[in-house]
Symmetry: none
Subunit: 404 residues, 2 copies
Amino acid sequence: MDLDLIRQLAVPNDTKIVLVVVDGLGGLPHPDTGRSELEAANTPQLDRLAADSDCGLTVPVAAGVTPGSGPGHLALFGYNPLRYTVGRGVLEALGIDFDLQPQDVAARGNFCTLDAEGRISDRRAGRIATEQTVALCEALGRIELPGAHLFVQPVREHRFVLVLRPEGSANGLSDRLADTDPQREGVAPLEPQALAPEAEATAELVRRFVAGSRQVLNGRSPANGLTLRGFASHPRFPSFPETFGLRAAAIAGYPMYRGLAKLVGMAVLPTGSAFEDELATVRERWDDFDFFFVHYKAADTAGEDGDFERKSAALVAFDKAVPSLRELGAGVLIIAGDHSTPAVLAGHSWHPVPFLLSSAWTRGDDVDAFNERVCLRGSLGTFPAAEVMSLAMAHAGRLTKYGA
Amino acid sequence: MDLDLIRQLAVPNDTKIVLVVVDGLGGLPHPDTGRSELEAANTPQLDRLAADSDCGLTVPVAAGVTPGSGPGHLALFGYNPLRYTVGRGVLEALGIDFDLQPQDVAARGNFCTLDAEGRISDRRAGRIATEQTVALCEALGRIELPGAHLFVQPVREHRFVLVLRPEGSANGLSDRLADTDPQREGVAPLEPQALAPEAEATAELVRRFVAGSRQVLNGRSPANGLTLRGFASHPRFPSFPETFGLRAAAIAGYPMYRGLAKLVGMAVLPTGSAFEDELATVRERWDDFDFFFVHYKAADTAGEDGDFERKSAALVAFDKAVPSLRELGAGVLIIAGDHSTPAVLAGHSWHPVPFLLSSAWTRGDDVDAFNERVCLRGSLGTFPAAEVMSLAMAHAGRLTKYGA
């Protein structure tokens, strides 16, 4: 859906929209039973809600394309994920709740092991313990750069995030920088290089950081070197609240999803990490917002672990929260997923994701259960996830007529 | 569908195509019965035709987008309604059967009431009777403008259409003009302003018209002022007959639909306003054309009025005409809608619209009734209305192979 068209057609009213994203919702049949995680789960509440809703399946990005969390969520927020992209450095920063600013440039960093000739002998420095990375990052963070603040933040094991922020009236930074990570062993890390003339000053800052890091890391073991990749600026996306005319709140227990919501301008509400906490937050702030993005994580985690039973159990647990969701009394209630995470694949997949939308203006369809197979019969068919928000707006009565 | 591709592939033959547009065809379930207007209507002829056809649902513009009559029809004529747009002034002129010429600029006008300080106190001048508007338009039409003809045509109540047409060899006009309607009361109408340098001369003509109107309206009550909005030129669309290689006729009892057909270059045939009259016109002119657009209005009117029973009755009445439609013996017979007009919404809506196409080359599907729910099982699925004409052309054997 074209965001300019949405902006042109959006009209205000009092209707509330609740978008629940069940992370990794879709699955695949278990080879022994032929039933998917959703089919194996006993989900009477979801099935009843599906019977009262318009159902279908969403395609997160495009046929056959497996999305990461970024594209999966951006699509559900109405942003064409092939057009609105988030660089790896930015996603890493969001994933650790780093308060990224619009002028920042971020990169993903790895500690690595260098041999006597300075060639990489282990790209992950033996996956050093997170505490070691914390200490190294603290030391690296003391490197001084002219005209820029430096942030070096630990992630987990050998992984960290580098963020450069221009100081005061210093010139803006550019993310048009090549990776220093050669993506293989037996060669030295690459020198920081600008990919465009306007990035030369930023490349020089990164060179100084790398030079400084040699002094810090020299003689250590096994982490005596580092590589950087995925340099990325904070993207400049159209504002979700302005585009849709919605006071929008994000309620998510995990940093990555809070960060994605913040990128598009949603208010990120403090909340606990349990889904019950998230729902309590929605209830407390019900009057302050028109739109609530609520994130449910457990299904994805189990799917990523390849744990079919645990993923089914996570869906059963979600099912028990459905009555509380309905009791909110939203004008439009949507249950969607950012992508499929079939336990049999132990990772994200490209498969379309079950979807339901409940409002006063649904047509209904022949769907009486919420799973991959039955949603195929839904009135919404199999459709792009980036259309979810225009449907939500329409059902909320918040889109005026196009053309006379 | 890309019109250039159609033009490239179109080949002539003797097959006739009949496109029947049932205005506002789609609906929503009645809350008491759970059945839509089509489901509640007894339509044995349509159901039988659906069983012999390929069925599906059309999306007029895009997911969640509620179309006006313009985009709804243009899509069915094969024109991407997000690319081919018709300005409000032009639609208003078409709606009163004004014979708009390609060089004209049209605007929607409102009579309003101004207070002693010249501020708008009533944007609709108390919705004055149409006869008063007729008399005022006659007086305003006598204002003389240098180098341009002026047409001031009444619509209904306080509404009128202003059309400017360049005289003889005068320079072309531009529609890049700001509204003079401030869209609120308590402020004066805005001065006519050009939005681009090439519109300055046209803005000056409008200023002279507004100045002249002050003399005409001064001292009257309640209509002592006017506002203008939606300045629009006659759009320059690719010709339907040339693009599709079809001698195309429009048979519609209402001016708006005749006007839309004329915009794309169809021949508009004189006809009565009853559907029987329209069908008689098709029969009379059968040999003169390859393509007939036939418009059925009653379903939309009832839907707009929120009258579920009357909309169902209008569909039953349409059903009785289906045998006459089949007896025409068209190679391709299509029953489509420009948009849904659910009685429960008392207006147009975004919901996909039932669709059927009958020809010798259909595959058939699991559809034995013509309504929203059963058409979901149709072989055409849910698809953009702008693809209807390429399907029609294909089933008429009028599209040659693409590529060797």
